[in-house]
Symmetry: C2
Amino acid sequence: MTRTTRAQEDVVTQWGEVVEGFSRVFQLLTDDVEAEIGVPVRQWEVLVRLDQNETGTLSTGELGTLLSYPPSRITRLVDAMVTRGLVERTVAQHDRRVVMVTATDTGRDALQRGLAVHRRGLDEYVIRALGADGLRRLARDARTLGDANRS
Amino acid sequence: MTRTTRAQEDVVTQWGEVVEGFSRVFQLLTDDVEAEIGVPVRQWEVLVRLDQNETGTLSTGELGTLLSYPPSRITRLVDAMVTRGLVERTVAQHDRRVVMVTATDTGRDALQRGLAVHRRGLDEYVIRALGADGLRRLARDARTLGDANRS
């Protein structure tokens, strides 16, 4: 193997380590949230996005953009959440073709319980291993990656 | 909001940034591989795992463990890859209940073409933003996270 080839292999291996390490922690964190609140993590993420918005309400189109999901997937996800009583669907006042989504009291309760579990998990799985500085460093690298690769 | 609560919120926000930044790059890398070789990235990952093994052959059980997939998902994935001519299934000599999976020439060709695209993507999306040192630092942090959270 030439030096160049080996250096390239190293890059692939390093990225493989990045994916494996983060996938493992991501899985632990999401398993904990699902086990604690009994809601699939994809649904919990919708509640997080709604809560992050100032009005507490987002259109299905806005949710799709934020979560990088196609429209059909968002529709199914919101349907399932309405069935569980986590969100309500309303029609936008400015355009009756736009569907708006808002958390119910049940949804806001699930969000808060999930956040408490998520914080404990971050302490246990991330900060205990890397320290608070380590997480800040990771977040900075991730922002750099995100900014360099905007769509 | 008290200082403690704010520090906790920061941790959640930082982890959110980590997930978003890495998801974005992961999506770009896998989209490129899929577009170039015309094989879903989950199938390409199986080819990578087979190639990483010294014998080039793994049982479906070993693949399931490596990829953290349940048996039914591995069975479906291998079925689809056999249909595409990417892998062959054989029965283990030591135990006829064990199904072994080996890449075909077509599979090995798809693996190599995908690796070339993957390396270009890592240069473009990761190393251009963070430098080679940055990727090494990320891999080190990821190994630390993985080691601290072994199942």
